[in-house]
């Protein structure tokens, strides 16, 4: 399977390189759907320039990247395009390996259940064969690399790609079963953008499953393992944050990064749901609604954990989707990450209702985003409601897709 993967990687790299050289690169970097205040490349460059001038990049509300990104790009800023292409490739390879391993696990489990005769007789069509599962990892890598959203994110040099890489490595580590690495990468992902902390639950569930520890509140081994994993995760997080302190010798990055993510002060339009509400809200209520909106992201973890405890990887996928819909500054790069997982559950597609409508919603909304943006900002004949409507529709489409998929998989 290595050769087709290499081919796909080459095609993707060529595509990105071609786009970098074209005039579209500048246009795409300016798009609000691709570059949010958290991930825009312009801001990274600005922050590094401020640092060269001797000013802390966190003074002022421009730069919202973590110190590790500062460190990374301080030396690699001239090779930024290469860096982003490599991160995309790494993400794709990580996802490929992860799904390969996951398929093996799924197949083993299926074999076990067949031998135990747990399946009803008429489920014959749903039994997954190694043949069809053979190409799924390649499809996942393909879906990720050649997704227009990923390509746009890469060409815009949005640091969302780096977040995706960390999350992909985390998924790889989890599926390979290494609790230590999984905790480290989860800590890194949380450190980068706060929301992956919700992926703690699916990762824990998967690792428990792998260790054959039953998920019962009374079981001592369950709590022991949970404590171990949580301790690993928290320690790595603390270590990474303390290390970041030593980069600039100040804790400025905490309000600039995490305070910014949580309190949503920047209301530039994006494909998310926050900006419109908070743009028209009175100051008096904004704290309350910020809390409500942020809770929305974290809230679904427990119910989904209860419901999907047998399918932790699917749970992880759904959680990723929830993060990318409800986070404070989503971009299409976040959408691309969870879309890459679609082939893994392709056997469920025959049961998915309204596939056509939902995929049309996705495509039409993606096309309408720039159109309505132009109409609003440049032509002046639309207003923010139009753009927000498309944002809403896009997110509703995503949510519908996720709920339908959840129902079919349960």
């Amino acid at each position: 399977m290595a050769a087709p993967l290499v081919l796909v990687v080459l095609v993707a790299v060529t595509l990105r390189a071609a786009l970098y050289r074209s005039s579209l690169a500048a246009f795409i970097s300016e798009r609000v759907e691709v570059a949010s205040p958290l991930s825009a490349w312009k801001r990274v460059v600005e922050g590094l320039a401020l640092l060269d001038l001797g000013v802390s990049p966190y003074s002022g509300a421009i730069f919202h990247e973590t110190p590790l990104i500062i460190y990374l790009f301080h030396f690699l800023i001239e090779y930024a395009e290469l860096v982003f292409m490599i991160t995309d490739v790494l993400t794709a390879v990580a996802l490929y390996l992860a799904i390969q391993d996951y398929n093996k696990v799924v197949f083993k489990k299926q074999k076990l259940l067949i031998e135990l005769d747990k399946y009803a007789p008429d489920v014959a069509e749903l039994i997954r064969t190694p043949m069809e599962m053979h190409y799924i990892p390649l499809k996942v890598a393909l879906f990720y690399l050649l997704n227009p959203y990923t390509v746009m994110s890469c060409v815009a040099k949005s640091t969302c790609a780096i977040n995706n890489t960390v999350i992909a490595f985390f998924i790889l580590a989890t599926i390979k079963g290494s609790a230590f690495l999984s905790a480290v990468f989860l800590a890194l992902a949380t450190y980068q953008s706060l929301y992956p902390v919700t992926l703690f639950a699916p990762a824990l569930l998967y690792l428990l499953q792998r260790q054959f520890i039953p998920i019962k509140p009374k079981s001592k081994s369950f709590w022991l393992y949970t404590m171990q994993y949580a301790a690993l995760y928290l320690c790595s997080l603390v270590v990474i944050i303390c290390l970041s302190f030593f980069l600039l010798n100040s804790w400025d990055f905490i309000p600039s990064v995490y305070g910014f993510i949580l309190s949503v002060p920047d209301l530039t339009p994006n494909i998310g749901l926050f900006w419109y509400f908070f743009a028209e809200m009175f100051e008096h209520f904004s704290l309350f609604f910020v809390c409500v909106f942020q809770i929305n992201v974290f809230f679904y973890t427990i119910p989904l954990a209860v419901k999907l405890k047998e399918h932790p990887v699917f749970f992880m996928f759904v959680q990723l989707a929830i993060i990318s819909i409800f986070k404070s500054y989503p971009t299409v790069g976040d959408v691309a990450l969870y879309m890459a997982f679609l082939p893994v559950w392709s056997h469920l597609y025959r049961f998915l209702r309204n596939i056509f409508i939902l995929s049309c919603v996705l495509i039409v909304c993606s096309l309408l985003f720039p159109v309505l943006w132009h109409l609003w900002i440049y032509a002046g004949s639309a207003n923010s409601n139009f753009y927000y409507a498309i944002t809403l529709t896009f997110n509703i489409g995503q949510v519908s897709r996720e709920t339908r998929r959840t129902f079919t998989s349960c």
Partner: protein
């Protein structure tokens, strides 16, 4: 006889010497103030009929300034509304400043440069700083140089720190101070007299920081400037109190007056004006005692016809020492010094001065190596060592 002759000769000689030194004194008088030309920027920022008095204020200052010699080509008059031809004006083509229609300040020769909607904050700042599109006609430009004394008079509705333009935008005291600083840096004025007649007018000059600015305001922060008297025939208040008394004061001035600024500061005491007029002279280099009203309000050309020969020698440098002692000790700025042209031309490439601290790099890579070995086992160590 000889003694009388020699005495007469001596006397004549002394007279001659006295005369000669008198002419020398007179010649030195020419250089007493540093300006050679005068400009005036008169701005009325309010529109609508009930703000008649602001237009009347501006036009009365315009009238005084023209009467004392500043030509229209050196006056930038900005009126935000047309009161003379307003449909509600019972006496069209007139703007009165005194009740009973005693004084019409809108004569035949009023040239309004910025009218109606052209009076905006942007245009005002562009006029001051000179950043005007090339298509602007000359009459709309402030073509002052570094020997110009400029009078800036503003009136309208204002508050603490701002002045309202056209009921839709404001100019803040900070913007104004920065505009004046831009004028100073571009050497667009020698000295500037800023007069403002609005509510809480003193707040507008609080933020000035450029040299050679003297400022007067009609009221302090927290006070309102009041209007003078309504005319029942016209139906609105005709003038504001402060400008009314300033106008009366200026009517006494003629081009040869020696009245100085201290007299202007006394105009309109609290008993007449109800508000407390304020002034600011700390940025001004000369003593207000020595500043003539006509230095700003008039365009007084110092012309003396004499048949004597006057030697303009380097001794005039001694004149600088004769300036009053309360002059600010600023060193004269040369024009070339203010633009770091050398730095701009030979732009050095960006120097990356910042490096991550060693401790951070060490810690980070130690952590990465630890994670690596923890995952893949210590057995790989022997491959390295």
């Amino acid at each position: 006889m000889a003694a009388a002759l020699s005495a007469a000769a001596l006397l004549l000689g002394c007279c001659g010497a006295a005369l000669a030194s008198g002419v020398q004194d007179q010649a030195e008088q020419f250089f007493r103030s540093g300006h050679t030309n005068n400009w005036a920027v008169l701005v009325c920022t309010s529109r609508f009929w009930f703000n008649y008095r602001h237009v009347a204020n501006t036009l009365s200052v315009y009238r005084s300034v023209k009467r004392l010699g500043i030509p229209d080509s050196h006056i930038v008059l900005m009126l935000a509304d047309d009161m003379a031809c307003n449909p509600r004006n019972p006496k069209p083509a007139t703007v009165f400043s005194h009740k009973n229609m005693e004084l019409n300040v809108y004569g035949d020769d009023v040239e309004v440069d910025y009218r109606s909607y052209e009076v905006t904050v942007e245009n005002f700042l562009r006029v001051l700083t000179g950043r005007i599109p090339p298509s602007t006609p000359r009459s709309k430009r402030l073509l002052s140089d570094d020997r110009s004394n400029i009078l800036i008079y503003m009136t309208g509705h204002g508050g603490n720190g701002f002045l309202k333009f056209q009921d839709s935008e404001e100019i803040t005291n900070v913007e104004l101070a920065d505009a004046f600083e831009q004028m100073w840096q571009k050497r667009r004025y020698n000295e500037l007299l800023f007069i403002i007649d609005t509510c809480q007018g003193a707040s507008m000059y609080e933020r000035f920081y450029s040299p050679n600015i003297m400022a007067l305001a009609s009221s302090q922060v927290g006070e309102d400037s009041l209007s003078h008297q309504p005319d029942l025939g016209i139906g609105v208040h005709l003038m504001d109190r402060y400008t009314f008394y300033v106008l009366e004061f200026l009517e006494e001035i003629h081009p040869a007056s020696q009245t100085n600024m201290n007299d202007l500061f006394q105009v309109c005491p609290k008993s007449l004006c109800v508000s407390t007029p304020g002034h600011r002279t700390d940025l001004f280099q000369r003593d207000p005692q020595n500043v003539l009203i006509t230095d700003f309000f008039g365009s007084v050309r110092k012309v003396e016809i004499t048949t004597e020969t006057i030697s303009l020698d380097r001794d005039l440098a001694g004149f600088e020492n004769e300036l009053p002692k309360d002059e600010l000790a600023t060193e004269p700025l040369k024009y070339a010094d203010q633009l770091p042209v050398a730095q701009i031309i030979h732009q050095k490439p960006k120097q990356k001065d910042w490096h991550p601290p060693g401790g951070f790099i060490l810690g980070l890579w130690a952590l990465i190596i630890m994670v690596f070995f923890k995952t893949y086992g210590i057995k790989h160590m022997k491959h390295i060592f």
